[in-house]
Structures are given as structure tokens and as C-alpha cells.
Amino acid sequence: MLLIDPSKKLSFTQYIRDGDLVIVYEKHDSMKAIKACETSVLQNRFGVFKHSDWIGKPFGSKVFSNKGGFVYLLAPTPELWTMVLSHRTQILYIADISFVITYLEIVPGCLVLESGTGSGSLTTSLARAVAPTGHVYTFDFHEQRAASAREDFEKTGVSSLVTVGVRDIQGEGFPDEYSGLADSVFLDLPQPWLAIPSAGKMLKQDGILCSFSPCIEQVQRSCETLRSNFTDIRTFEVLLRMYEVREGKMDCGQGDEGVSLGSPPYKRRQCSNESRKVHENTSSPVVMARPCGESRGHTGYLTFARLKCH
């Protein structure tokens, strides 16, 4: 996924090779991660796709099934991975992830600590941010989950940047060997206040901590704990509002012909074709946008704080 070795600029020059991880794109909310394998096939509602047809094609290609159905093959990125990974826990999404990376001031070469690993959604983005010379040490107390995360990092090719440990960070704190070495620490724990003193020990002076909590009571308690050793304590909520775009015709108010405005959304092509027939000689179609009717209303609060300088 990442170009850790510049001599293997995998993503873009290259063509899909046997063994590459490929994101199979059906539509924006239907994607799947698959390892290309000479002898395998992918079977879905569009038909049967032979992997052997994929190998040698550039990433970004459209490929066809035996029935003429098609999908696109994309090179994996942390954003695409977040959309296809298997959820072993609740995961972080792009709005929170991108904000966390910038706000924790993570740049190439940083040493970052994370707990818990969860499904590794954030971890993959942390790895991208510290590459090529930094490292992410991530901990989860759930042994099987840690093992699955390790397998995933192997699969996505970030394993040289990430070390997964099995450890109860709330109970035991981070391992002493990272004491004073961490540029940033990220906590996604049910009782983050228990891990904050240890996180403070791990951080370099002026290093930044972030705690993600869904509930305000957790935030309240974390902030109380943070006040003794941290400064610049700030809590945020980040969300994304998505928009639908479609082409349609607006009635000018004289005719009694129905407008396509009320018709079901997301059938752009059909809609515009229909309206073209109906309104052939009236107004020209316009492109319109509106927020999607439903969206994520809350993910969690992000609390950031800097270790005080002594």
C-alpha cells in the first residue's frame, strides 16, 4: 500500500501482479479487498471474474466478467482500506482519522504509540504518516484481535512500520522501553484516564496526546486527569456532511408536468434521460446538489493535550 521502498513504486507505474492486494470497486459503497492470484476467480452478482485476466493490467482498469458485468480494480490506500476492512470493533473513519494525524503533528520519522489497535483502521493511516523512517507501536489486550491486525498489516504491506503488542494499557500502562521517546500517543480506551499517566511518561516534552471517546463523561474524566501534566487541552467533534449531485430540470411554474425533483435520488443517468424526454423543449437541465438525508451524527469526542515542558 505504501511506497516504503522507492525502487518499488508499486502503485502507479505498475501493473497488477500475482499476489498484489487489489480493491475491487463495484460502486462507492460496495468494495472488497482481494489478493490477486493467478488461479482464483471472483464471483459476485455481476458474474465470474478470472484473476488471470487482471494480472498485467494497470491499477484503475475496468475488468469484465464472463457475463459482461464489470468492476474496477484499484490500488489500496488507507482510505479505501478503511472502507473494506473487516470490523472486529467499532472503527474510526476518515474525518476523525485525518484530523487526528494533523493535530497530533505526525510527520515522517515520528514514533507513535496507540491503544487499542481495534480493527487497525487508524493504525494504517498512522503508518502512512510516519513512513518511511518512523514507527507505530500499537497495543490491544485482545490476543486474537491483535493477531488479526498483524495479519492485516502484513496483507496491506505496512507491517515493517507497525508493531502490534498484546497488552492491557489501562491496567499496565505502556512498556517502559518507550519512556520519553514518543512524539504522539493515541488512546481509544473505555477508561482513558487510567492510561493517561503512562502516556505522559512515554511522551517527549511538548509531545501530543489524543484520546477518542464516544461519551462526554469519559471526556470529562480524562480532562480532569490531563490537567496535572498536560497543557493546551482541547476537545473537538468532527463530522462530515455528504452531498448528492444530480442533473434535473426545474419547472418554471407554468406547466403542470411533474418535475423530477421529487423522484428517488441517485439514479442520475435515468433521471436525466427521462426528464430530457419529457421536457425536451422547455428549460435546460441543471446540476443540483443537496446534503444526503442521513448521515453519521456522532462518532466520538477527540481530546488533545500537550505534555507540559519542564
Partner: protein
């Protein structure tokens, strides 16, 4: 890793300032934000006095400084707040819940303070420290004891800002630079809020060893933010229409080392497109077409010529001099040279690995239709705009042209909270708008 690399990593990610480094000075908790370059001669004006910035050299980022009257006049000295925390906010007290005091007895008649301006001046002449003046003001306030703990704290803070100003030394990173501009001069960065900028970087997969094409008309903030993610590898290529490259003064606020500066390049769109058409045609054109002119007079610009030198190496966001001047003594490495031939060749063969556009005054579609073909297949892109309609049109055209998939327009929303014992709520004021982002992935149309 070579010695050289370690050395350069050191300056770029250093947690301690050095002579010649760029810093962000936060005066009185964000009241004033000043970009400065630390040299032995640079000074900062607070109130009516000039303070040398020399004491800040060699200090850890995150240090606090207070003004003091030294032997050689006013100076800044390091100040370490007690870890215990001595104000109401830091005590996290429950007393406030059972607070019995209120403001019924406080009358606004301007008679509460018995110290006069002359008294304070006299104290100053006798060498009283700022903190001492604050304590004297509190002692002589007839109403201080009647105030609630919360408003006592407010009073103390207000007086402290005036009589004992504090300067916080901050690292100029994408986060702090973007926030400083957004707070003081949002128009200069096209109202690009930090959460929107973060999204652009993630959506365009900006990372080490990538070749990111940008259209940066937000003063160089975007170029700098991408370069920060590259860490001295790959390239960020800032392209422009016509003959004049877009200014990118903000790049110099970052402490980029030479390795990183070399990775920040410019190329006129014509050069990139010419490169593109050369590959697609390959024959015939070679003899006639002029070589890709990247050494033209417009392709590179010398930062030091652009910068308006002010006397003391300090750029104050409060005043109208946001250009941080480079001192003659220490040459800031040049960023923004014309793209080298071998890079142009690489992009011609492989395409850019991603694209980010932040051009508030340009129509996204007219840019995208020319720029998208310069990307490699499967490359992600992200376009920021303050207005929805141009992005909607752009998205629609990309769909019709089957040029990209995974198209999505999103609008970031960011709310900050005050978290205090029994007084937690969202801030009363918030930024209500962070712009729109159109993101997607280029596909192989054949």
C-alpha cells in the same frame, strides 16, 4: 541511515529551537500570533517595549516566557508554571457546584479598584514584576472577594495578560500555521480550515515517496502541508496557469531542511501538458516541439527577492506584514525551483500519484479536465472549494466523461468544546463553514 540524514531529521523534527529557526509565538493565549525567525538580532514588540528573541534560542518548543526587567532593560525569561495548577480551572474543584457567591452585590461604578494608573507606574519604576502588580491590583480590588471563583479567575487572567504578558513558543507545523492564519487572516488561505486541509491530505494519500500535483492558491499552505508529509522524499509540484507562479510564502514558515525544500517544485501547466502530449503522440513532434522549458524566467522564483525585509525578522499576523523575512545572515533554503527534467520525465512516464486543488478563484472543472490526465490510473484526488455549485458541476462532468469513480462531495464540520467541571458545553462561537471537498479516484478510461 547516513549521518547527513540524521542531521537533517534533527532540524526538521527538532523539539528544541536553534539559531535561524522559524517559530510561532503565541502571545497571551492566542491574542496575538507572530511568526518569527530566531536570530541574535531579532526582536518582538510587546506593548511599547522591544524584547530580544535571543533567550528563546536553544529552548524546547512549548516553553513559556514572561517579560521581565533585566539589568540591560526589558527581556523575556523562561517561566515554568507550577505543575499543581493554581487557578480554578486547573483545580477541577467541586466547590463551584456549591458556589454560594453571585454577582448581586457587584455594582458597576468603576470605583472597585483603588490603585490608580500613577500608582502602577510608580510600582513599575521601582522595579515591580508583572505578577506583583497583578497581586496588588487584586489586593486593592474592593469586589474581588465577592466574585465567584470562576470570575476571580477571569479577573486574574485579564490583569495577567495586561501586566505580565506571556509568550508561548510553538512549533510551526501544518496544524499551528493553518490555525494561526485561519484565526487572523483566513482570506489569505482561502478560508481553508485545519480539518478541511487534513482531509485533503488524507484523501490524496499524501505520504513519503509520492509525487503530488497541487494547485496551491492558498499562499503556500497546501504545498507546505504536503511537503511536511513527504519528509524529504517524492515531490510536491505546484502547477500554475499562464506565466506567473502562485505565491507560496507560507512554505518558509515551516522549518524545512534542504532535502525537503528540494522536493518542493513548480512547473507551469503548459510544461506538464506538453510532456503529456509528447508521450501520447511520441512521433513527429520531437524534432519540432521545443524542449520542455522549465528554465524559463517564470518557472522559478527566488524567495528572498519576494520577501519584504522588515527590520527585526518578525512577521506579525496582527499587522499587515505576514511575510516572514529571511535574514541575510542565514539563508533559508530555497523551495519552489522549477521542476527538474528528470522529475518531468518521471511524471510523463508514470503520472502523478495524486492531485490536490485549492484554488478559490478558479473553476474546478476547467482545471480538472486538464490536470486529471496527468495522474496515473487509480490515483486519488481532492478538490477544495468554497462554493458548492462549481464542485457539483465538476463532479457531474467527471461522471459523464467516465473519468473517475468514488466521487463524493463532503463538507467538514468541526465543533470545539469547553470541558470544565459541571460546565461542559460547546463553545459559544464556532466556525460555521469549512468549505467543500470533491474527492475521487482516476480510472483508466480505455
Amino acid at each position: 541511515m547516513s549521518q547527513n540524514n540524521l542531521q537533517s531529521d534533527f532540524t526538521q523534527n527538532s523539539r528544541v529551537t536553534w539559531e535561524g529557526c522559524s517559530v510561532l509565538l503565541d502571545i497571551n493565549d492566542g491574542d496575538r500570533l507572530v511568526f518569527a525567525r530566531l536570530t541574535s538580532g531579532s526582536t518582538l514588540k510587546i506593548g511599547n517595549k522591544n524584547f530580544s528573541l535571543r533567550p528563546l534560542i536553544g529552548c524546547p518548543f512549548g516553553s513559556l516566557f514572561q517579560t521581565e526587567n533585566g539589568k540591560e532593560g526589558p527581556c523575556l525569561s523562561r517561566f515554568v508554571p507550577s505543575t499543581e495548577g493554581n487557578n480554578a480551572e486547573e483545580r477541577g474543584d467541586c466547590e463551584i457546584i456549591n458556589e454560594s457567591r453571585d454577582n448581586r452585590a457587584i455594582i458597576d461604578n468603576n470605583k472597585a479598584q483603588s490603585l490608580t494608573g500613577e500608582d502602577i507606574d510608580a510600582m513599575r519604576r521601582q522595579g515591580a514584576k508583572g505578577d506583583e502588580i497583578v497581586e496588588a491590583l487584586i489586593a486593592n480590588s474592593a469586589t474581588f472577594e465577592k466574585k465567584t471563583l470562576f470570575s476571580q479567575e477571569k479577573y486574574r487572567l485579564k490583569k495577567q495578560k495586561k501586566y505580565a504578558p506571556r509568550v508561548l513558543l510553538r512549533r510551526p507545523f501544518t496544524r499551528s500555521i493553518c490555525e494561526a492564519y485561519f484565526k487572523k487572516y483566513p482570506a489569505r488561505i482561502g478560508f481553508l480550515r485545519v480539518d478541511a486541509l487534513s482531509l485533503l491530505l488524507s484523501m490524496a494519500n499524501a505520504t513519503a515517496h509520492s509525487d503530488v500535483l497541487v494547485v496551491d492558491m492558498v499562499g503556500g499552505l497546501l504545498t507546505g502541508a504536503v511537503a511536511e508529509r513527504l519528509g524529504g522524499t517524492g515531490y510536491v509540484c505546484n502547477t500554475y496557469l499562464g506565466g506567473t507562479p502562485h505565491p507560496m510564502d507560507i512554505v518558509r514558515m515551516f522549518n524545512f531542511n534542504n532535502d525537503t525544500c528540494k522536493r518542493i517544485v513548480r512547473a507551469p501547466l503548459n510544461d506538464l501538458c506538453l510532456a503529456q502530449s509528447e508521450t501520447s503522440k511520441q512521433i513527429g513532434l520531437h524534432e519540432d516541439a521545443p524542449a520542455v522549458e522549465s528554465n524559463g524566467p517564470t518557472s522559478s522564483i527566488n524567495m528572498e527577492e519576494v520577501s519584504k525585509s522588515s527590520e527585526n525578522d518578525v512577521a506579525d499576523l496582527d499587522r499587515d506584514t505576514n511575510v516572514s523575512p529571511t535574514s541575510k545572515m542565514n539563508k533559508a533554503p530555497k523551495a519552489g525551483e522549477g521542476a527538474p527534467q528528470e522529475a518531468l520525465k518521471l511524471w510523463r512516464e508514470n503520472g502523478f500519484s495524486s492531485l490536490i486543488i485549492a484554488a478559490p478563484d478558479l473553476d474546478p472543472w476547467s482545471l480538472v479536465k486538464d490536470l486529471l490526465p496527468l495522474l496515473s490510473y487509480s490515483a486519488p484526488f481532492a478538490i477544495y472549494h468554497q462554493y458548492l455549485q462549481p464542485l457539483a458541476t465538476c463532479m457531474h462532468n467527471l461522471q459523464l466523461g467516465k473519468m473517475a469513480i468514488g466521487l463524493q462531495i463532503s463538507e467538514p464540520w468541526l465543533r470545539e468544546y469547553q470541558v470544565l467541571p459541571s460546565r461542559t458545553h460547546p463553545f459559544m462561537q464556532m466556525s460555521a463553514f469549512g468549505g467543500y471537498i470533491l474527492s475521487g479516484t482516476r480510472i483508466c478510461s480505455s
